[in-house]
Symmetry: C2
Subunit: 178 residues, 2 copies
DNA sequence: CTGCTTTCTTAACCGAAGTCAATGCACAGG
DNA sequence: CCTGTGCATTGACTTCGGTTAAGAAAGCAG
C-alpha cells in the first residue's frame, strides 16, 4: 500500500513530523492505542530481544507505514522500533487518521482490513520461510527490496533472514562466483 | 479462542453441519465472502501446491475455527482445505454469524479484530521459524499440540515443519535416545 | 595521519538436513 | 492367505549453515 503525493502531503500536514537521529528508539507506549508511523525519510528496523540477541523482524523505508502489532498476551517478548539511519518520521494520532479518512474515503475499507491483509502477507512470508533455503531467501530479498542491502549493515540483513552474518557472507561469495 | 458449550451449541443449531469423508476437499469459492468453518470432529489440513508438492500450512482439529485467508493478489498460489480424517464440520454463513453475534455480543470485538490477532499470531510463528532449528520446532509442536502427532501421518507433520520426512524420522530417533 | 571501533570476510571444524536408494512394516483388497 | 500400496525407517553421501577464532576493510574521531 503506497500513497500518492497528494495523500502523503495531507499526512505531512496533519501528523506530527519529527526528526530522529540514528539509533534512536521510537517510544511505543503500552499495549493499546499505539501510534502509527509513516517513514518519510530514512530506515527503521523492528526487532525484539531473544536472550539479549537482537532479532530483526522487518525494515521500513521511505513511504512505508509502520502499523502497531497487536500483542498476543502470553509471550513476554516485545517489539522495538529503532532508526537505522537518521530519520524523518510522521507520527499519526487517532484524530489525524480520522481526518485523513474523511478526506480520502477510499482508504476506509483498506484501514478496516489492515489486519487481514497483514495476516495474508505474513502467511506468504511464512510459507516462503518454510520452503526456501537461506540462499534463496537472500536472492528473493535482492529482487524484492534491492535497495535495502545497500543501506543497512549486512549483519542486520542476516538477522532479518534468520542466519548468521558469516553465512550471509559465504552466500554472497557463492552468488558472486556464478 | 475457544467456545463454551452453550456457544458451540448455538453454532451447531444455526450453521450447516455436514459430514465429510477422509480426503474430502472442502469447496472454497472465489476470493471474497468465503465460508468460515468450525471443526466439530476430525482433522483438517490447509495446504497449497508448490510445483506439485503439497506444502501444509496448518492443521485444524476439534473446536478450531477455520477463518478464510484474504488473498494477496499477485501470488498464483491458492490454499486448499482437506480432511485428514472423517470430519464433522459446521459451515458458517454470513447470516448465521450475524445471529450468533446478536446472541453473544461479547464476541463482536473479537470478530472485528480477528485479522489483527491472526497477524500477531503469525508474527510469532514466523519469529519462531526464523530462529528455531527443525528439531526445536518439532519439540515445540510436541508441547503445544501433543495430540496432533498421534493422529496425523508423519510426512504431513514434516511438511508442516518445513522439513523432509526422513529428517523428521531422524529427529525423533535423536530425541528418543536422550 | 593515526588509532579505534564497527563491519565484513576467511578458514577450519562440526553437526544436521537434503537426497537417493533400500528395507521394513502395516494394512486393505482380492 | 498373499500381494500391493502407503508410510516409516535406515544408511551412505553431499551440501550447507553454525561456531569459533582470526584477520582485513571501512568508517570515524582525535
Amino acid at each position: 500500500m503506497t500513497f500518492t503525493d497528494e495523500e502523503a502531503d495531507l499526512i505531512r500536514k496533519e501528523d506530527i513530523i519529527q526528526n530522529y537521529s540514528k539509533n534512536y528508539i521510537l517510544p511505543q507506549q503500552g499495549a493499546i492505542a499505539q501510534h502509527c508511523f509513516l517513514v518519510l525519510k530514512g530506515c527503521v528496523k523492528r526487532y525484539y530481544l531473544d536472550n539479549g540477541v537482537e532479532r530483526i523482524v522487518d525494515f521500513y523505508t521511505e513511504n512505508d507505514p509502520i502499523t502497531p502489532v497487536s500483542y498476543v498476551d502470553k509471550k513476554p517478548s516485545q517489539y522495538f522500533l529503532s532508526c537505522v539511519e537518521p530519520c524523518i518520521i510522521s507520527k499519526g494520532t487517532e484524530e489525524s487518521t480520522q481526518r485523513f479518512l474523511e478526506r480520502f474515503p477510499k482508504f476506509v475499507p483498506i484501514f478496516v482490513q489492515i489486519g487481514d491483509r497483514l495476516a495474508a502477507k505474513q502467511q506468504l512470508q511464512l510459507d516462503d520461510f518454510k520452503n526456501l533455503a537461506p540462499e534463496e531467501r537472500y536472492q528473493k530479498l535482492l529482487e524484492e527490496r534491492p535497495n535495502l542491502v545497500n543501506r543497512v549493515p549486512q549483519y542486520m540483513i542476516a538477522s532479518y533472514l534468520g542466519i548468521q552474518p558469516e553465512s550471509l557472507s559465504r552466500i554472497r561469495k557463492r552468488l558472486w562466483k556464478s
